[in-house]
């Protein structure tokens, strides 16, 4: 009996236990109440169904969550990722079709399936712009020692303004079909965006688990000054975390603009910084920094996205959607609390002792 109890306990105390449980509960709910949720079919040579939607829709959020995990692990936070998404999308759209401003180009010229800039530049320049945004955040936090929340707030506000300047306040529709592949294409039956997420995840995982960078990040997040005295350049560690976060947000921006085939400076990625932070927290990384879990953050992002898709599929009235979301989040976060942990331990241990 004893080994099983301790196994259960180990399982319960594993950092990924609750995120997995939460995800399973959402899936169970769908199994019971949303007919056809798990139906997968092959359409046009690729998988098709709600589950694929969750992965595809969740891809930008997963990317944000990966970047945000690194930042939060250094005891920081990045509020500007939503704005960076808008900047990256806007830059890509303008590069493809520089139909700027109020001068209205005739429609036939606008809807041509051509790009004014080679595709690799259309991808590279927004990514560089996003990385520079991350660099800006990193400098403010690590060199100017401004509180992360305040420092990134600067770009959160200004970034949307920058994006609006790029698009001149218009929603730019993209007609260049090769660009759609990034966020809407399929490779070996799965959305192409998933491969991008996988690549970024593997990169982050390798850097943080197979090199000492992960250790540096955790140590800076736990205690920045003691890391400094142990010879870690804590400023550069922070700087790199923000740069990486900006880069991830840039990819997310490309995915989103490619998927909806347009760049909307006002609304692209709006409030997604909050979703990203939530995903990281649900995944078990503490806001106070230190130990972090990339897998947890991915799970967190999937939980948020499956919740959203479930709400749409289940047909919750729009007026109460936010309340339902809040309740689910509250329930998930409560599972983490010390209170629940202690009472669960008690519950299981008593049972373990009795027989």
């Amino acid at each position: 009996m004893k080994p099983t109890t301790s196994l259960l306990k180990d399982l319960r105390h594993h950092s990924l236990f609750w995120p997995v449980v939460a995800l399973l509960l959402i899936m169970l709910f769908n199994l019971l109440f949303t007919p056809g949720f798990f139906r997968l079919e092959i359409k046009d040579g690729h998988l098709f169904g709600s589950l694929v939607d969750i992965l595809n829709r969740g891809a930008p959020l997963m990317l944000l969550a990966i970047g945000m995990t690194m930042v939060i692990a250094t005891a920081g936070v990045d509020l500007s990722v939503g704005a960076i998404i808008a900047i990256a999308g806007a830059a890509a759209a303008v590069l493809i079709n520089p139909a700027l401003g109020r001068e209205l180009v005739t429609s036939d010229k606008l809807i041509e399936d051509v790009t004014q800039t080679p595709l690799w530049l259309v991808i590279l320049i927004p990514l560089i712009a996003a990385t520079v945004c991350g660099l800006w955040n990193g400098i403010l936090v690590s060199r100017a020692n401004i509180q992360p929340m305040v420092a990134t707030l600067v770009l959160m506000v200004a970034g949307r303004g920058i994006a609006q300047l790029i698009t001149n306040g218009q929603i730019i529709t993209i007609y260049y079909s090769p660009y759609f592949y990034i966020g809407g294409g399929y490779l070996f039956g799965l959305p192409f965006s998933l491969y991008i997420v996988a690549a970024v995840f593997l990169f982050a995982w390798y850097i943080s688990r197979k090199t000492s960078v992960g250790l540096f990040v955790e140590s800076v997040g736990t205690n920045a000054s003691s890391s400094f005295y142990s010879g870690i350049n804590e400023k550069n560690v922070k700087l790199l975390a923000y740069i990486f976060c900006g880069f991830c947000a840039g990819i997310a921006g490309l995915l989103i603009s490619s998927n909806v085939k347009s760049a909307d400076a006002n609304n692209a990625g709006l409030w997604s910084e909050l979703d990203a932070i939530l995903a990281v927290v649900i995944g078990g990384t503490l806001m106070s920094g230190g130990r972090f879990s990339l897998v947890g953050s991915i799970l967190g992002a999937l939980i948020i996205q499956s919740m959203t898709t479930t709400i749409y599929a289940f047909g919750v009235p729009p007026e109460v959607v936010l309340v339902v979301k809040a309740l689910v989040v509250l329930a998930v976060v409560l599972l983490y609390s010390e209170l629940v942990k202690v009472s669960m331990d008690k519950l299981f241990e008593q049972k373990g002792v009795q027989p």
Binding site: T34, G36, F37, K43, D44, G49, S50, D53, R57, R102, L104, T106, S107, I111, I139, L140, R143, A144, N145, I146, A151, V154, V157, A158, G161, I162, Q164, L165, G169, Q170, I171, T173, G184, I256, N259, V260, K261, S262, D264, N266, N267, A268, L270, T308, T309, Y312, A313, G315, V316, P317, P318, E319, V321, L322
Partner: protein, 341 residues
Amino acid sequence: MKLSKVLLFIVALTTILSVIGCGAAAPAAPAEAPKEEAKAEAQPASSDKKTYEDLVVGYAQIGAESEWRTANTASIKEEAEKLGVELKFSDAQQKQENQIKAIRSFIAQQVDVIGVSPVVETGWETVFQEAKDAGIPVILVDRRAAVPEDLYATYLGSDFVEEGRRAGEAMDKVLEGKGKIVELVGTVGSAPANDRAKGFREYIADKPDMEIIASQSGDFTRAKGKEVMEAFLKSYGKDINALYAHNDDMAIGAIQAIEEYGLKPGEDIKIVSVDAVRGAFEAMIAGKLNCTVECNPLLGPQFYELALKVVNGEEVAKWVPSEEGVYYPEEAEALLPERKY
């Protein structure tokens, strides 16, 4: 170290301010001086009735928060130039205090009439009263203010409920009175979303064969519109006969979702939306949208007509609905080049 901190903070602040400043670089109407002279000459000739040439209008715009608003501003400015009206234009950057300041400065400059799109509904009594005491009529444009009726001359703006009803009528036409409809609602709680839903339901209330089977918010954006439509398709699939979207952008997002699902938008699923922006016309030309109900931002011509009437003491209704059309694909190709927004 300290100095560098301060410096960086200043740099950050200037960045924000300059960006905000750039977004609103729409100062008062240029080249006012020459017109002033012309006015001075014209005044003695026309004794009582004013004409467009000697009309001075102050306009307190909300800001430039959307494409719709940009088109609205452009229309107000262009029309003033065309008619020869002297326009004093102020951009409030979405702040009520700026709008109030602008109105006060218009009063001080003794303009003939003040146009304003109130950014929020409440808190206008004092400043409108000041305008009234100064004998300057106020015209509300596009948005209402919660003030007693005697404080403003008239309200010029869209009737969102009517837009909903027209959308219902258009839906009735394209569906031939029968079908299951999914609805993409605008931002929950916003006036256009509430009223467009209401008007649509009013119209289809006595059509037993038209039924709304699902309704969900797409926040007026393409991305959300697409995401919600994907979920609708997964849940209801081929049962969906039609889509009613509260704005064109959500419809455009939904069109992509329908195509990816393997159905033909505009044929397998009929689509009716509201706004009539350029994108909607492009979609109609491609045969993917069946109808769009106009929500007209080009209020310039109507506004100055009203302003002149009000200044000359002519009778005007308390509410003048803006002139709006309903557009079908047949006329889209001809109309697209004329669309300004």
